[in-house]
């Protein structure tokens, strides 16, 4: 199994009466009223420190993502965060999960920036291509939800084709027409960095991932029991299309809270977890699912309905730690408890890539480091060999023995 430290980069200074005072954490939360850039300076630096720390203690990957106009995640450009990380990390893979391709015109911009990251990092990039939430795409960026998915898929296919072709060609798409596709630089990895696709149970996405050998990542906040129907659907599609059940085809996301015991876990993690579910996830329902965002085939399959149902139980009401633990949203407790739960997750979901949230909500620096370090030292070693019989074909392969490190600042100044 591989372990990736995922940062959502929430704004940690949302007021206590946030839920009563504001209608939604996303789309129309007044920026100048709620966001303080002076506090923001510290927030970004703390968060980058935490990602760098995750590399030092031995996480395989560090993950960033893209969201817009919100207090839930402060990375409108994950590529900027990843660029900062290329200079201060040498080993961890940079999992950019990712760029919402339909929002870039032309999508070649994404091919360029991701290739830059791959070259700068020495071939350490995982290129994630989410379609983007309804909030980010349709409401914040004005993307037409009726054509969003089609435009997204065309864009991803253009990017991958450009990375594979590496010489000029013409592209006459429905949404993008380019006479000369020839992006510089080309990625260091060949034929291209692994492609990871976040998915929430759309049938078309399953098939698309399997047919193109993209990794399918179910980034759920509702725990692995609730994630089962989605992952079962994925593996059934793998079988149907004749793929192998290699667990490294798939990823899953899990909130983590490592402590001495359950009581200490509650003491450390209840507040930041409740902050996340009650404030970061306080999203006006109309922004979730603009018309066209969920395909008709997916509606008829009914799976997303189940996912929505699972989440509805925990939305709206004032969510408490007890609910989160019972629903499995947060896996917390002693290292052994967490090892047992993650083994159970691996059995049930069959996923080789696990993305861990060791920071959430308004968690203090000290707690983040404690959680991260204990997970790396006391949990990872006990799970490391799971699935070792499989080859991970969805992981960066750098041609370099060692990456070039930045010159020390003092030397550069002389």
């Amino acid at each position: 199994m591989k372990f990736h430290w995922f940062h959502l980069m929430p704004y940690p200074h949302l007021p206590d009466d946030f839920k009563e005072k504001y209608k939604s954490v996303w789309v129309d939360l007044p920026a100048g009223e709620v966001y303080d850039p002076v506090k923001g300076h510290q927030v970004y630096n703390d968060y980058l420190d935490q990602l760098e720390f995750a590399e030092r203690v031995g996480f395989d990957g560090i993950c960033v993502n893209e969201h817009h106009q919100n207090g839930y995640g402060l990375m409108p450009s994950p590529n900027l965060m990843a660029a900062a990380l290329t200079r201060r990390t040498t080993n961890a893979k940079l999992v950019v999960l990712g760029n919402s391709v339909a929002l870039y015109n032309p999508p070649i911009r994404v091919a360029e920036e991701m290739a830059m990251l791959d070259v700068m990092s020495g071939g350490r990039l995982v290129s994630g291509f989410p379609v983007g939430t309804g909030m980010d795409t349709a409401f914040c960026y004005g993307a037409n939800p009726a054509t969003l998915r089609d435009k997204y898929r065309e864009g991803v296919e253009l990017i991958v084709k450009a990375w594979k072709t590496r010489k000029p060609f013409a592209f006459n798409g429905k949404y993008t027409q380019l006479r000369y596709v020839n992006p510089w630089p080309v990625p260091m990895q060949t034929p291209h960095p692994p492609v990871w696709i976040p998915g929430g149970g759309s049938v078309e996405t399953y098939e698309w991932c399997v047919n193109n050998d993209f990794l399918y990542a179910h980034l759920s906040y509702w725990g692995y029991e609730n994630g089962r129907p989605v992952m079962d659907g994925f593996w059934e599609t793998v079988d149907k299309l004749g793929g192998d059940r290699n667990p490294y085809r798939a990823g899953f996301l899990q909130f983590i809270g490592v402590a001495e015991n359950d009581a200490e876990a509650e003491k450390l993690y209840a507040e930041p977890a409740e902050y996340f579910y009650n404030r970061c996830f306080h999203i006006a329902p109309q922004y979730y699912n603009p018309p066209g965002y969920t395909s008709i085939a997916t509606m008829r399959q009914g799976l997303t309905g189940q996912v929505v149902k699972a989440s509805q139980n925990l939305r709206g009401a004032n969510v408490k730690w007890k609910d989160l633990i019972e629903a499995g949203c947060v896996v917390a407790g002693s290292p052994q408890t967490i090892v047992d739960r993650l083994n159970d997750m691996a059995d049930k979901l069959h996923v080789g890539h696990v993305m861990l949230l060791c920071h959430y909500g308004n968690m203090s620096n000290e707690t983040v480091y404690y959680n991260t370090q204990r997970f790396a030292r006391e949990v990872i070693p006990k799970l490391r060999n799971r699935f070792s019989e499989y080859e991970d074909k969805w992981w960066p392969k750098s041609p370099l023995g060692e990456v070039q490190k930045p010159a020390p600042l003092s030397t550069a100044a002389e």
Binding site: A138, G142, A146, N289, P291, T294, M299, R300
Partner: protein, 258 residues
Amino acid sequence: MKRETINLPGGASSQLRRGGEGETIVWLHGPHGLRDHDPVLAALTEHHDVVAPLAPGFNDLDEIYDIDTVHDLALHYDALFDALGLDRVTLVGHSFGAMIAAEYAAHYPRRVAKLALLSPFGLWRDDIPVADLFSVPYAAFNTMLWKSGKPSPEMSDPSDDPNDPVEKNVQLAQAMTTIAKFIWPIPDRNLRRRLPRVTAPTLVVMGADDKFVPAIYADEFVTEIRGAKAHIIPDAAHMAPYEKTEETFRILDSFLKK
């Protein structure tokens, strides 16, 4: 009303309902599509031969895969009128259908005999913006459209088969996705600069309490279309033809008879 499927050149087709006797008029429906017990459609058939095509997309989103713009929509309806042998058409449209009717009349002015726009949209003023239809979950769009916030019983159920909740949602999703395709994120596809091309006698009817498209937009249509007349129905919202059917028809009948 009789149901028909009309085949169009290039492999497309159009579903429609037809009924009544008298002069032929074309009804272009609003966001609720075509319902079995639609009272406005029933009132129209009392004095007219009514051709009511279902907007492409409402029944199957694949139908609008190649209909990307309002220009493509105008071409679609032009092919349909050809297939029906309608040389000149009288168009009565409501809401989304009124936008299509206005676009058609601007694209093919010589082909339109009369134009009635009931609660039309398609124009935009920065100082009096059209409300965001999607600022409520789209499954709850009725709350914005009806004065009471609730649909009339005849128009409340999106499906002829109310027993299948999934298909009910599918129908609603198809309708709203189709509308979204042509108005997202702002219902302005430059109709304003095409409207002066319209030559047909034009009537604009709006509800005084329309929460979606402020009634003042009636003036905007009248300003851009030569000779157009506006009528504002008090105590009615975007669904004015349904909320005040009698008053709507008093005005509409006198316009169509002229």
